[in-house]
């Protein structure tokens, strides 16, 4: 493009910008800058009149550069690039200036400085824009398949939606069976229907679905490639049972003499050394737990081997790896309970009769350790006085700051469990606030708070002490009545805080997904794109994006699946615009760019007897590391060339002249 | 008060020199000052540099004798790391060094100093330059000069990497061995160098020594100073450019001192004057007595004549022959006649050429054992060589990582600068009498000066060169009353 013709558009963003500085002044200043043909301000540039204003100017003044001074480019860059496209300009001739997040929102108290800053930022953009050039991207086909990591309700729902849309799904579950936390629940609020009754049919659908392969007892260890063409490395942990032979008859489990605490019962029950996660496990294929198997620990027994009708037992089995080639990845690994023993004052872990909400679920569950009888773990006695503590670790500076978003409703459900099993029981609920926000929750709450012998006390227990008989003694300051209450309870239930699963940190690194202050996955946008991530092709389903109850989780999972389906259905991904580009004339083939490329996207080629660097545009992700390494300046990065960045830097360093 | 004569700057020598002559009211010379008007501070900015970089950094002190600085620094590194190069490496170094000695002397003889004699001191000034020389000796000789120098310099490039700022010096050795194909070239060149050196001796004989007038000029009192002399000698007290002991003889030719360069601080001190950037070396044990010669003044000189004065002879046959001829003709040693410097230079040129031949023929020269690996630096490293213009000492102090903390560079022209001042004022005094300023003054003074082939690039790490001299003569009030142009 010969002559540079720049249009500058300063947005008021209502009062967000306009309330602090005078956009008209900024536009007026911009109009005095070199190459600027037209400069305007408007109340909402992103609105349709705002957009068409720019579009018309582009035609009218045949602009070949557009600068929009408004919010963060991370917000509306695509919007305004769309405007350029519609006006027949290459979208990369757009330069955004962030005068909201980086200026008016943070310098409100020094408006004139903020205005001066806005002018300088615009000036720098004008300097930079002169060096912008058209960028075209390449298209690459996507592989129409997906990996779903995590077989809880979120993963199950997402898998089914994808599979039903004709997409091949690989569902990765680290435990022996899919089902996740929901499978451990007795009932679900507010409808109180049996959790497994609504979950297990879905599990069966998954296991039967032609488009779904389940990799149970497996973990994702590495991810390479990129959106549309990921290579996902999955570790199949040794089960010591050849699942291809196994029929799931369960004789081995029956006959196994080995015993171990049952994870599924949160440590309250016992399982065999060879076991299913739970009765309705999917897949119905057992695994041997070598830590408790007599053969592995003492070198005796081998009963399972003897009794197995199909000779499926294989003590020599080793871990195996498979590499799955997929177009999209859905992360649905859910949450984990906060380690309640860290709330020292409550004595969880020290006092048998202080249990977690999930443990209560197990006690109340028909396939639980007590076959559904709610008793004190210490002596099996029926509790007559039960204390339920809300926000155990949640909304607490010392533990986790955020809300678990289901503790309150769960507590109400737990009142029901207790009153239903032990009608004369007395239930004391210790709360800070009761947040019954979901559909039907308020009604649910009202119903059970008004039951006899159910007391809501606004306050948290001080230190809990254990009496000789195992019951628990503590004081609570009721901030409603202003009284100090001494409580003696047979059982205390902690509605605990939730955190991301331990293995998330490692996983998110291979996925290149950032996290929020709580450690949960960071969505692309908290409102507009809550199930996408900064890594293209990687989607979020359920509680890994933040604590959720079942309805929200399922909704979120379905949305993630829909997003993934959309992404895969499009059929192609585009190369990044910020590609590395080589100036063959200057390149001496010194090869240092090859040494620093994290994606092995650069190779050295012989050309007319010379060595020259070549960039593979599929592999290049546009980080620019090579450009910052190139000793000769032959290697540049689209939209971030040395000249573009330096002209911006020079302008900012020198300030508005 | 009297007049001031300024000759600024002196031409045809590598270095920017300025001479101021003061006359009293009778118009007789009170004093003459040699001013060296710049300083680059290499000694300072060597601080913080890794010692192994010194050979390449210090060679930038002078592009005319980079090899001298490169070699002195490299030898200082051998010393710093207490690691001697293997014999083949030492021989290659010495070979390169003699090639360099040869071409540098050739440059001075034919281009810088020679013209005074070859063309003649009384010849028109415009002719007293390289072009005049070519006219006198014929352009085919001129071509021969150019070709021979080039051949020698190309050999340096082939071995040392570069001729202007060599790179091959490493503590305990050199960077690259000499291969057979290079050696055969070397042998050719070596022979041509010897021929050329002898040819040069012939020219000097025919044009200078056989000319009574010139000989008298050389021996005239105007160009004579009885000072001490310092130079390197080998174990047999013969002239050696690359290595040896430093020997000092007094004005009567008696050995005054003979010491290893490590003891140089006991023997050499430097005096500072406010009117020049160059430091004046003198013998510490005799002391600084101002600008005067004699046994009681610590002033000493270096460079070709000094080397021949401190030595008992030359290290090679043809050179020895020429040396004996010189001593017999002059009749006594030490030779105090400044202009005999040119003579000495020719004799050294012969030795350099013969040395090159000798080393090129040495079977060891192509041996690939060229490095002994250095280990820990021992804190101090001192190296010495005979630069074409005289004793050159590099002295470094480093930390345990071999980073230079202190550097001291003693350069030939610093050693000579006091004696040069003597020569200059003596020449001036003999040629300026009662206000009569002989037109010949200019060149006589220059000749005295030029004989040393002083390199102020070395002495002060200053730029070489300058303009044709002009003499400014001022009256009592300092008004310009006369200007003498070449």
């Amino acid at each position: 493009m010969s002559e540079v013709r720049i249009g500058v558009y300063v947005c008021h963003c209502g009062k967000n910008i306009g309330g602090v500085i005078n956009p008209a002044k900024v536009a007026e200043y911009a109009s005095t800058l070199p190459n600027v043909v037209v400069a305007r301000d408007y109340v909402y540039m992103c609105s349709s009149p705002g957009q068409s204003l720019i579009e018309e100017d582009i035609r009218k003044y045949n602009l070949n550069r557009v600068i929009v001074a408004a919010c963060s480019p991370r917000m509306h860059e695509p919007t305004f690039q769309g405007v350029l496209k519609r006006a027949g300009l290459n979208p990369w001739l757009l330069q955004m200036v962030n005068i909201r997040e980086h200026d008016t929102w943070v310098h409100e108290d020094t408006p004139d400085k903020a205005e001066e800053k806005a002018k300088e930022l615009v000036a720098a953009a004008v300097a930079r824009a002169a060096h912008l050039y058209e960028i075209t991207t390449e298209k690459f086909p996507v592989i129409k398949s997906a990996v779903v990591i995590g077989g809880g309700i979120a993963g199950i729902r997402a898998s089914l939606d994808l599979a039903n849309a004709g997409i091949k799904v690989y569902l990765i579950e680290k435990k022996q069976s899919i089902g996740g936390k929901m499978a451990q629940l007795d009932k679900t609020f507010p409808t109180l229907d049996c959790s497994q009754c609504i979950l297990t049919p879905l599990m069966v659908d998954v296991s039967r679905h032609p488009n779904i392969d389940i990799y149970a007892y497996s973990e994702v260890v590495d991810v390479s490639g990129s959106a549309g063409n990921f290579k996902v490395k999955v570790k199949l942990k040794p089960t010591y049972v050849d699942w291809s032979k196994c029929t799931g008859c369960g004789t081995c489990v029956e006959k196994c003499p080995g015993r171990a605490p049952r994870e599924f019962d949160e440590g309250l029950g016992v399982r065999k050394a060879i076991y299913f996660e739970f009765a309705q496990a999917v897949p119905r294929r057992p695994v041997i737990d070598p830590k408790h198997c007599l053969w592995f620990t003492k070198g005796i027994c081998r009963v399972c081997e003897k009794v197995c009708p199909v000779k499926a037992i294989d003590y020599g089995q080793e871990e195996r790896y498979v590499e799955l080639n997929v177009g999209a990845i859905i992360v649905a690994i859910g949450y984990e309970l906060y380690d309640l023993s860290r709330l020292k004052e409550y004595g969880y872990g020290r006092f048998k009769n202080v249990i977690s909400g999930l443990q209560l679920e197990r006690l109340s569950s028909a396939d639980g350790p007590t076959r559904g009888k709610i008793v004190r773990p210490s002596d099996g006695r029926e509790p007559k006085t039960v204390g339920i503590v809300l926000c155990a670790g949640s909304r607490d500076e010392k533990h986790v700051r955020y809300c678990c978003r289901f503790g309150c409703a769960a507590a109400i459900k737990h009142i029901y469990y207790i009153k239903h099993a032990i009608p004369d029981a007395k239930v004391l609920v210790f709360y800070t606030d009761v947040r019954a926000f979901g559909k039907g929750y308020e009604e649910f709450y009202q119903k059970y708070r008004s039951e006899d012998n159910v007391f809501f006390i606004r306050g948290r227990p001080a230190e809990i002490f254990e009496d000789k008989d195992g019951s628990l003694i503590f004081d609570v300051y009721d901030s409603n009545t202003g009284q100090l209450i001494n409580v003696k309870a047979d059982l205390v239930v902690l509605e605990g805080a939730v955190v991301p699963p331990k293995d998330w940190e490692a996983l998110r690194r291979v996925l290149k997904v950032s996290c929020d202050p709580g450690g949960f996955a960071l969505e692309l946008h908290p409102k507009l794109r809550p199930f996408e991530t900064t890594s293209d092709g990687v989607f979020l389903a359920g509680a890994i994006q933040g604590p959720k109850d079942i309805p929200d989780t399922v909704a979120h999972a379905a949305a993630a699946a829909a997003a993934a389906i959309g992404f895969l259905a499009k059929g192609y991904v585009e190369s990044v615009p910020y590609l590395a580009v080589v100036n063959d004339e200057v390149c001496s083939g010194c090869g240092l760019c090859v040494s620093v490329c994290p994606y092995d996207a650069i190779t050295i080629e012989e050309r007319e007897g010379r060595r020259v660097a070549k960039v593979n545009s599929i592999r290049c992700k546009g980080c620019g590391a090579c450009a910052a390494t190139c000793p000769s300046g032959a290697m540049q990065q689209n939209y971030f060339t040395d000249t573009q960045i330096i002209s911006e830097v020079v302008s900012l360093a020198g300030g508005a002249k | 008060m009297g007049r001031t004569v300024i000759i600024d700057p002196i031409t045809r020598l590598e270095g920017h020199g300025k001479i101021a002559i003061f006359l009293d009211d009778e118009g007789n010379v009170v004093n003459a000052y040699l001013q060296v008007p710049e300083l680059r501070g290499f000694e300072k900015f060597l601080v913080g540099r890794p010692a192994e970089d010194a050979p390449q950094i210090t060679s930038r002190i002078c592009g005319v004798c980079p090899t001298a600085h490169h070699m002195a620094a490299t030898k200082a590194l051998d010393d710093l790391y207490a690691v001697e190069p293997p014999s083949p490496a030492r021989k290659v170094r010495e070979l390169v060094y003699n090639l360099f000695m040869f071409e540098d002397h050739a440059l001075h003889f034919y281009v810088l100093g020679g013209p005074d004699f070859i063309v003649g001191p009384k010849a028109p000034k415009a002719e007293r330059n390289v072009f005049g020389v070519l006219k006198k000796v014929g352009s085919e000789v001129g071509l021969k000069v150019i070709k021979t120098r080039k051949a020698a310099r190309d050999m340096i490039t082939a071995i040392a990497g570069k001729v202007i700022h060599p790179v091959f010096g490493l503590p305990g050795g050199i960077a690259k061995p000499v291969d057979e194909s290079l050696r055969s070239k070397l042998l050719e060149v070596a022979n041509s160098l010897v021929d050329f050196a002898l040819f040069t001796r012939k020219i000097f004989k025919d044009l200078v020594l056989s000319n009574r007038e010139y000989l008298d000029l050389i021996l005239s009192d105007a160009y004579t100073h009885r000072t001490y002399y310092m130079g390197l000698v080998d174990s047999a007290n013969r002239v050696n450019f690359y290595d040896g002991m430093l020997r000092v003889v007094d004005p009567n030719g008696r050995e005054f001192a003979k010491f290893d360069v490590h003891d140089y601080l006991d023997h050499i001190a430097e005096h500072v004057e406010p009117w020049t950037y160059v430091r004046f070396s003198y013998l510490r044990k005799v002391g600084w007595k101002g600008f005067e010669d004699g046994v009681n003044s610590g002033i000493f000189s270096v460079a070709p004549l000094a080397r021949l004065n401190v030595a008992d002879g030359m290290a090679t046959p043809y050179a020895q022959e020429a040396y004996e001829e010189m001593v017999t003709m002059v009749g006594s040693k030490p030779i105090h006649h400044t202009l005999a410097m040119h003579w000495a230079r020719v004799i050294e040129m012969i030795q350099a050429a013969e040395k090159v031949k000798e080393l090129a023929e040495d079977p060891e020269i192509t041996d690939t054992n060229i490095r002994n690996m250095p280990e820990k630096p021992r804190g101090v490293g001192i190296g010495v060589v005979e630069a074409p213009r005289g004793v050159l000492i590099h002295h470094y102090e480093t930390d345990e990582k071999g980073i230079i903390k202190k550097a001291n560079l003693l350069v030939a022209t610093q050693h000579n600068s006091a004696r040069i001042s003597l020569s200059v004022s003596k020449a001036a005094k003999s040629l300026i009498k009662n206000g009569n300023i002989d037109e010949g003054l200019l060149n006589m003074v220059e000749m005295a000066y030029r004989a040393y082939d002083p390199c102020h690039a070395c002495a002060t790490h200053n730029l070489p060169g300058g303009f044709k001299p002009i003499i400014h003569i001022y009256d009592i009030r300092g008004n310009l009353i006369k200007v003498i142009k070449p």
Binding site: N98, T110, S514, P598, A628, F640, I645 | -
Partner: protein, 141 residues
């Protein structure tokens, strides 16, 4: 000096962590000094020491490079390259008497408050050092 010196500071921010974190400070309305001017790059690994020196040369009183925390780089290892270039640059600048003028800080997408603290600290630090005026000082005799 009469009224107090307002440092001019150029900040390099990577798109995925630091720029997002700076945006977050904005959306959370966390105040910090106006002196900072942000230059966006996709990855801190794109920031060339040349750009840092150029900023100082052209009038910046200080330069602040920001990137993802170690291990968090969106491009696997860009921030490690930045860290190494920074360490070398620091050593060079020390010899040139300028090492106090450049900082490297890690700011994640969730650290709006941390960003604000860093920005304030750096501005104060540079304010104490006073104006740089590299061009005038080095070109004037």
């Amino acid at each position: 000096m009469g009224d107090q010196f307002e440092p001019r500071i150029v900040v390099f921010a990577c798109n995925w962590c630091s720029y997002a974190g700076i945006d977050l400070a904005g959306t959370s309305r966390i105040r910090y000094p106006h002196n900072v001017r942000i230059v966006k790059v996709m990855c801190s690994g794109r920031v060339h020491p040349e750009m840092v020196l150029k900023a100082l040369r052209e009038g910046a009183d200080g330069v602040l490079i920001t990137g993802c925390h170690p291990g968090d780089c969106h491009y696997i290892s860009g921030n490690y390259k930045t860290m190494r270039r920074y360490l070398l640059l620091k050593k060079l600048l020390k010899e040139l008497g300028l090492s106090d003028r450049v900082w490297l800080e890690w700011v994640s997408a969730s650290e709006g408050d941390r960003w604000a603290k860093i920005a304030s600290a750096f501005v104060e630090h540079i304010r104490k050092l006073g104006p740089l005026r590299l061009k005038e000082v080095m070109e004037g005799e």
